[in-house]
């Protein structure tokens, strides 16, 4: 490869970098080749000793911040597509709408129902616990009617049952409290695991 071929290829490979970055890089490698040639190497030797333009470009891209890399990847993807193929993708997206839309929606639906189910469990637990308590209170109120209408045994029975129900309700509420905390913790660790998987993948 001649110096010109090398520099042209390099310029093409790093065209996505900021303008002054491209110029600086080209100037640097131009100088390196000239200095090696002055030192007695042939132009081909000098070029060969620098590595391929592709690998140089890859190294330079890797030194850019992660956000810039992503942006560049997207831009690169866009620029590599001809307008025709971009149009083709748009047309395909529209034509295939009946196929991908239900898939997307059902995926979202699964996620939504997952959270709804968990929320439902929590609500049900609390509803049961609280309603047992309400039942107990109602029983105690009912017992006064028993006493008032001189059904004494019924009155005592109602009071006993009422107190038992309130006790049960308190235990159930404590249980629900722990269950809710546990579920929230579980969800947190789940989301943490998912995030970690994602981060590891992007670092690779």
């Amino acid at each position: 490869m001649t110096k010109k071929e090398f520099l042209d290829k390099l310029r093409l490979e790093i065209r996505n970098l900021p303008y002054d970055e491209v110029e600086k890089t080209i100037t640097y490698y131009e100088e390196m080749i000239s200095d090696r040639v002055e030192d007695g190497a042939t132009e081909a030797e000098a070029v060969a000793s620098l590595g391929t333009p592709e690998s140089i470009a890859r190294d330079l891209q890797a030194h850019q911040p992660f956000a810039t890399i992503i942006k560049r990847k997207v831009e690169d993807y866009k620029s590599k597509r001809s307008p025709e193929s971009t149009a083709l993708i748009v047309v395909l997206l529209i034509v295939l709408f009946p196929f991908w839309f239900p898939v997307l929606m059902s995926a979202l639906g699964v996620i939504a129902s997952f959270f709804a189910a968990i929320g439902g469990v929590i609500i049900a637990l609390w509803a049961i616990s609280v309603s047992i308590g309400i039942g107990g209170i109602a029983m105690i109120i009912a017992s006064t009617f028993g006493f008032a209408s001189s059904y004494i045994p019924t009155g005592f029975f109602s009071i006993g049952l009422g107190i038992a129900l309130i006790g049960l309700s308190i235990i159930a509420i404590i249980g629900s409290l722990y269950a809710t905390k546990g579920i929230i913790k579980l969800l947190e660790s789940l989301s943490h695991t998912i995030k970690k998987m994602f981060v590891r993948r992007t670092n690779a």
């Binding site: 890089t25 490698y29 390196m32 000239s34 200095d35």
Partner: protein
């Protein structure tokens, strides 16, 4: 060697080279090649980082009808070398400690 470690070491190597006097890319690569494996392509990002952190300054000198970029160490660059040497004194102590135990085991 760990790539992050090597990068850090090379940065200080380049600065140390510049303590001897202003130099240019190819000369730096040639001089450092005797000490450590380095190529023009590894040097480039190192020079860029050192320039960004103002450890060195760049200026152009005409040479054979073209411009050659020279690098000169700054005060920040000298400070960086000192910091490195202080840090590595600690690393050397740790090395001696680990090595002593390792040898004692065998």
């Amino acid at each position: 060697m760990d790539i992050q470690l090597k990068r850090g070491l090379l940065e200080v190597c380049v600065l140390a080279e510049l303590v001897k006097g202003d130099s240019y890319g190819y000369q730096i690569v040639k001089d450092l090649s005797e000490v450590v494996e380095i190529s023009e392509s590894t040097l480039y990002p190192i020079l860029k980082r050192l320039e960004m952190s103002e450890c060195l300054r760049v200026f152009s000198v005409e040479h054979n009808g073209r411009l050659r970029r020279y690098y000169r160490i700054t005060d920040a660059g000298r400070k960086r070398i000192k910091e490195f040497l202080n840090e590595w004194e600690e690393v050397t102590n740790v090395y001696t400690f680990i090595n002593g135990i390792h040898k004692g085991e065998n």
